[in-house]
Symmetry: C2
Subunit: 452 residues, 2 copies
């Protein structure tokens, strides 16, 4: 059982989810006269914007993760619970964790989003997405295994398929993945293989709309396109993926249908709300948008439930300009902090103005040394943008330890292009493509049987 | 197929295994007029002496690993093959990898050792060992999950079992694990939990002989014992483990039999030779010792096969003082380099003196700030020993990148005792012990069913 010191006098805040929204809410409540319980199914906060760096062998998972307990250890009013919330009892104001209940006076739901394959869930086996540490390690395994298998492959067509990487989705994650893989192939791995020329690697970035980085200003999309092309990425816009299976990607461009033979397909396209969306809909009658994001009130609460708040990627907040706010870290942080402030003020009998997102801009890295940054009033590109990108990402890493390590990794990589974290770990660690028999070595001739 | 540029004029050296022995052999052959093929089933070299630091959440796997291709990329006479050797055809001088063959003129087998449970293989489920990155991540998961589960547990006996860590084996790995876990409990995690007092954690180190660190000088064993005891480790010598199952460890001390209730049991006791030992025995008739280590000739070759060498943990070399050399990194490095030199000289028609191990001493870390170092002519303990330990370990990390990161992690940890890499990842990431019903919260009362 969860024996929270549930001093009945003290206002109980339960936060579900330790991502940017939940963690920033918890941190903003550290001095408030409330008891905070943060529930997460993982024991660490993950800095998702840098997850592609793990997937491409540049950083280790721990470099972009912070144990939630350690981040919140100084907040004496806060406890962390490792667990998964299955349900909410709005009548008795309790969240259900396994077969136990945790009571709340205010509830903040911040469980985020996961990938969406637009109903084609079987694509996931062929085209993994990038949301968790395990996802990143699996992507890393596939990327580096493809080069290993290509090194052994003598059939030219099969080798080309092994050296073809298709990234579906031209948002920041897709752009960053494509740039990183292109640089991996042409720079980092250049000297590492003896049979293949890794510079012959094909990296395709597929985007349904007419430009990459659709949330950015069009001129920055152009810069991103030019930078990606310079790195050797084949950027295909207005391209719809209609099927993915058996190392073949089928695409539709206008009326034309094509197939691309590619062993490695990476998914950076749709997202959908986490399952808590359906729990909230069932228990409060709240509405959601097509992606399952919960439609929230101007103060981020749920209609009719002024003490239940939804923040971060799970929320659809469209009060500002009619368009829902994007599922990015700055929105989540500001929403989390806003709700924390609202709760503090409410306990003092005060009200605060509706939530207003202050857009600090968008940014994406292209390869190791270039980036695009859209600050609204100013657009940056190239080295200076890269520097700004770096600074902002390191600044927001939760723990100083991580800031230091990531900074050093970057300085190191800047000068060497080395990627030390390119381990093939987990389930399949041997190149899966068997040697075929066209080459110098004959197949094994039987010896006397070996009893080992 | 493996299309090695098998220039038939050039002497072909095949090295099986990219640990210390194999890698140092490959590096020593970089300038020789030979073609080298290094075959490993993993794509990275692992610095095993620091694996316990991964298991206890201090370092990331990539910090102590170096991609083999990257380490050897400058050696233009060397290629790396990701694959597992199943057999050796000594008649035709070929090693069998999957269903292909790789020819050799000289063969260096350096496949190392794995854990041994002395025939009690079912103990492995309850008491994982520490040889691979996956082992370390599993140990890390178990250690941190035990604290999470204890935080939720209200039954005092169960909670104590969750907070009891038994380490079997008092060699360097066992001593280092025990010290690290004790420090984790009493220092790193001290502020992180709200229900449990992590200082109540029990760490037991069990050793069959009459002192810990049996390979060291007795006075250093005493220092290690005192340092461990000061950290709160309960060191039990002359203790035999007779059974491990269902969170119970049965031990025998003299005629007395006891049981210890412990959720987390870690294995740091026996090792046995890797399966290549049996292949070599079957194919060459060579003998092995009880642990399966191959009995080698004074020049590290196999009797009757002057061009097949066994080096590192797989070899039993007892020519120096009648006792086999221990399975430690310095022995492996020196053996690998010796064989490389022998091959170079042999190609020039020269011979070299039998292998002679130059003992540089032994060392072990106890907790974060103390170590024991036995240099033979000098014995060190305490802070200075810690510093020497640190220097030597960082010095031998293969890549400069890793040296830098590990050094910074250590400086950071020295001042903060923080352990940022304590992620619970992999298979089971939620505390497995369900909440029980003795506490403040009642069990879930049925609501209307939820269709999610």
């Amino acid at each position: 059982m969860v024996n929270i010191d549930s001093d009945k006098q003290t206002h109980q805040v339960v936060i579900v989810g330790g991502g940017f929204a939940g963690l920033y809410a918890a941190k903003s409540l550290s001095k408030a006269n409330v008891n905070v319980t943060l529930i997460d199914k993982r024991n660490f906060h993950l800095f998702q914007p840098l997850l592609y760096q793990v997937a491409t062998g540049n950083l280790s998972p721990a470099d972009i993760s912070s144990p939630l307990r350690s981040v919140l250890s100084k907040n004496k009013n806060t406890q962390v619970l490792l667990g998964e919330v299955n349900d909410i009892d709005t009548t008795n104001q309790k969240v259900i964790v396994g077969n136990e209940e945790v009571p709340y006076d205010s509830l903040i739901v911040a469980t985020g989003a996961k990938h969406s394959y637009f109903g084609k869930d079987n694509w996931e086996n062929f085209a993994p997405g990038l949301k968790t540490v395990e996802d990143a390690i699996e992507m890393r395994r596939r990327i580096f295994m493809a080069f290993e298998a290509a090194e052994k492959e003598t059939d030219a067509a099969k080798r080309q398929a092994l050296l073809t990487f298709v990234i579906v989705g031209g948002g920041p994650t897709g752009v960053e993945l494509a740039g990183a893989i292109a640089e991996l192939a042409t720079k980092t791995l250049k000297e590492d293989f003896r049979k293949i020329n890794t510079s012959e690697t094909k990296v395709l970035l597929l985007e349904g709309l007419d430009r990459v980085l659709p949330p950015f200003a069009p001129e920055l999309s152009q810069v991103a396109f030019a930078s990606l092309t310079a790195l050797g990425v084949d950027v295909q816009t207005k391209t719809l993926v209609t099927n993915i299976e058996n190392d073949l990607v089928t695409i539709k461009q206008g009326d034309e249908t094509k197939t691309i033979a590619a062993k490695t397909v990476l998914w950076a396209a749709g997202v959908q709300a986490s399952p808590m969306s359906k729990v909230l809909m069932a228990r409060t009658g709240v509405e959601s948008d097509r992606a399952g994001r919960v439609i929230v009130e101007p103060d981020l609460s749920i209609k009719g439930y002024p003490n239940i708040f939804v923040v971060g990627d799970l929320a659809n907040f469209a009060h500002q300009n009619g368009k829902p706010l994007p599922g990015v870290a700055p929105v989540a942080m500001q929403e989390g902090e806003y709700v924390a402030k609202l709760i503090r003020k409410r306990l003092q009998g005060e009200t605060i103005a509706p939530f207003k997102y202050i857009d600090m801009g968008s940014l994406a890295m292209i390869g190791q040394h270039a980036a695009v940054v859209d600050l609204g009033f100013m657009k940056l590109k190239g080295f200076f943008a890269w520097f700004v990108w770096l600074f902002i990402h390191i600044y927001f890493l939760i723990e100083f330890n991580n800031k230091l390590i990531v900074m050093i990794q970057w300085i190191w990589n800047y000068f060497t292009r080395n990627r030390g974290a390119r381990l093939i770990t987990g389930k399949e660690t041997l190149a899966s493509i068997p040697f075929d028999n066209n080459g110098h070595y004959a197949t094994v001739k039987p010896q006397k049987p070996l009893n080992v």
